[in-house]
Point group: C2
Chain length 475, copies 2
């Protein structure tokens, strides 16, 4: 007869302990397949416990399939493999408090190295975010909307946010879109997934080279055929896509990433004409058009699209904060139905609280004043960085380019040292450099000796020392 000492059960209920013991014996092979278990009554008497204890233990073993019951014939061990020498679950069950099981906390992600100069630094400008306003609006949403916030959200986002976005897009970007055309999602990369799934992976996708590598990664992970599109000082030339079998172009025509090129209107028209001549689409990635320091913002492709060929994409990662993960698509009216049919089953990935908070932030004018402040802040920071370059030994050995817009500019260096060698030397000297060639997919598609200066996180203090060290690398 099975014998277990129920006094050793510690804080476990009796039935639970008995269940673990029998399970352990089955897994260790002490109880073999087909073996008949004692009746509940007999085992209860043998162990000096209530019949209900055995009943509950057997019921659980039955539910998990360790035992099978045969009508009126009792309980038998199922065809379970035993683990030779394996730990029995009862043992496993006690080792949770084992020292070190969660000892190496936060491992795996190395702490960021402190750089003398970090041209790839992200963040910066976060300090300018009106966190107290955001927190206040969040509290207001929590108290005004209450438990209604828990209900599932429409797949394309809460109506209040899509309406606020439609107004904002019209006022800031001249984009005319009904709220129904807008799809809210958790950041650009998530939305790239939706775009391929909407348009289909079987199409050929053209992406700018040099370009934003994450877009390429997401398209490729989705199995889309990706092809490089060359980029010159005016963005992508029409020869790159005309007469090819490409069907979708992913473009950043308003401030090409990373070259900063603005695509002039004749090329934009060529793009729209190309798209209009077939089942073709243009994805307009308008990732940082909010920041243009001279003149007016460049009107997006979407605003001159009369054929419903442009899928517009933007996020709040750069204008608000990277941790918020809120982006959106503006679909052409003719694709709204296809989206709903094909992807409408996806639940909206942005929590309701954030959506309502952002809706208030937009509709009550906080976003606009934040943008205005940030333009002044970024322009000032860019000016400080450009001045620091002029005051450094780099002056006369480099030329800033495309510094009139966006959160990065270029710095063309007078040097014969190859970019990779410069990057290696920089790394040794504590400089984290970023070259246009880092963003190319094909060798030679980006000009060499050209730094991409992501300046928002470049604090003016200490910049001089970093630039001095950089100048020393050039010879």
């Amino acid at each position: 007869m099975l014998t277990y000492d129920l006094e050793k059960r510690g804080e476990l209920p009796r039935y639970d302990y008995l269940y673990r013991c029998i399970k352990g014996d089955i897994l260790s092979g002490r109880l073999g397949p087909g073996e008949r278990l004692p009746s509940k009554r007999a085992l209860a008497a043998h162990l000096g416990t209530a019949v209900a204890t055995v009943e509950n233990a057997y019921a659980q073993l039955l539910a998990e399939g360790y035992l099978v019951s045969r009508q009126r014939a009792g309980y038998y061990v199922a065809q379970v493999e035993s683990r030779a020498g394996g730990a029995c679950p009862a043992e496993v069950g006690t080792c949770g408090a084992e020292a070190g099981l969660w000892g190496e906390r936060r491992g795996g992600e190395a702490p960021p190295r402190p750089w003398l100069l970090d041209l790839r630094g992200s963040g910066g400008g976060i300090e300018g975010f009106p966190f107290s306003v955001w927190a206040r609006l969040t509290r207001r949403v929590l108290s005004e909307r209450g438990p209604a916030l828990l209900r599932a959200v429409p797949h394309s986002g809460v109506p209040e946010l899509r309406e606020a976005l439609a107004r904002h897009l019209y006022e800031l970007r001249g984009i005319r879109a009904r709220p129904e055309q807008i799809v809210v999602g958790a950041g650009a990369e998530y939305l790239y997934n939706l775009l391929v799934q909407l348009l289909g992976r079987e199409r050929g996708y053209g992406l700018e080279d040099p370009g934003y590598s994450r877009a390429w990664q997401v398209y490729a992970l989705n199995g889309a055929r990706c092809r490089s599109l060359p980029v010159d000082g005016q963005g992508v030339p029409p020869e790159a896509f005309e007469g090819t079998d490409l069907q979708v172009l992913h473009l950043s025509p308003n401030h090409q990433f990373p070259t900063g090129a603005v695509t002039p209107i004749p090329r934009r028209q060529a793009m729209l004409r190309w798209a209009g001549a077939g089942d073709r689409y243009l994805i307009e990635d308008d990732y940082d058009s909010e920041f243009r320091f001279s003149g007016r913002p460049i009107p997006p492709l979407q605003s001159i699209d009369q054929g419903g060929k442009v899928l517009y994409l933007n996020t709040f990662s750069r204008t608000l904060a990277p941790s918020l993960r809120i982006g959106y698509l503006v679909l052409p009216p003719a694709l709204v139905g296809r989206y709903r049919e094909k992807l409408g089953f996806y639940a909206c990935t942005v929590p309701a609280i954030e959506q309502h908070t952002l809706a208030l932030f937009l509709s009550e004018g906080y976003f606009e004043s934040h943008l205005n402040r940030m333009r002044v802040f970024y322009r000032g920071r860019r000016d400080r960085v450009l001045e620091a370059v002029q005051d450094s030994p780099l002056a006369g050995r480099c030329r800033p380019l495309r510094e009139e817009a966006g959160l990065h500019f270029l710095l063309e260096l007078d040097t014969d040292v190859p970019d990779r060698e410069l990057a290696r030397r920089g790394e040794e000297a504590g400089l984290r450099l970023s070259f246009l060639t880092d963003y190319q997919r094909r060798e030679g598609s980006a000009p060499a000796h050209t730094l991409v200066v992501h300046y928002p996180a470049l604090a003016p203090e200490g910049l001089g020392r970093g630039l001095e060290a950089l100048a020393r690398l050039l010879d």
Copy 2:
């Protein structure tokens, strides 16, 4: 000479109005490609405005590519196509306040129809969610963490949440996982995308049939080869995958959706053995195992996996609220590196505020007490529904099945009427029915005449009338 009446500019700055006028004339064809524009000085004098006004207007037109400048020769209209009869941007620019532009608000999504009986109803139990606790914790996170919440979050989630999840998983599900193995993401469907992208679409994926259609949809949208796996009273039988070229099985072994079958241990071992014999994986979708009303929860496959073959997935949509969009994966240790390499570029899709709030909710014991309360609530609701069935004319004409766990159970009907006909009759009578056959992909893979009763949203009031109407459909 170009002539525009700057007095008509309304509230626009002069340069902006001038820019719009010239752009309009280029787009309408009044100014043709190659045409030379007057010098800034001449146009300024002609229009009676400052040279700077013209300078700014020209600069913007240049930036957008409507004009080209030739060194010392002046400004020329670029090769821009004109729109015959098209609206000029100046006109477009004034119609934002147009009545009706956003008039049809919240259109596109029809209001839910009020049903006499709705077996597909989602939600329910949301009223049990301790919203005030959640709101309080959110406020605490906002004030304690402040602007640090704006920084980008590690790709797999904030460490505090992954640690809290690791502890929770161990205590509730017997899952031993280091926080490094956990990936937090915006809901199950998003995570399904990550799973295919991690394991590769070129593999054959086996999915339960009948099963959860969204998993199939996401895998198929990712281009994975999907194949149906039959389901019997014990889940998926080994014959369904042994000897096939499948490489990944998507399973809900702890409470198969929608049949409710629990896969017994011998089959689980067969699954693990199969996976262990090749480059194969098991995705364990543990979507509602928290709700088991008799005995202990069924231990997950993950907890007996010694070969690192199980990718465990769960969400908080059913245990907390569908609008929160927080789910997670537990990867086998050997896949953590591959994940980081292949998908680590994805930003985490859950905002930092929600992640910290959930971490507190878990680590301070609120989740556990909430689950305990909800188990009582759901058990009570299930009992009321079963009692109402017994008290209705359906009694004796149906048998409840698999009612011991989960948020739905089955109701086998004594009828010869085909399911589709029943659904049609139901629709007419105000009953929204849900059959096992609704979840099948291949005809005949699910037994007919079996209702799937999603009961959490079934309020006991009025249930009697709905069940009476249902009984009338059976003949």
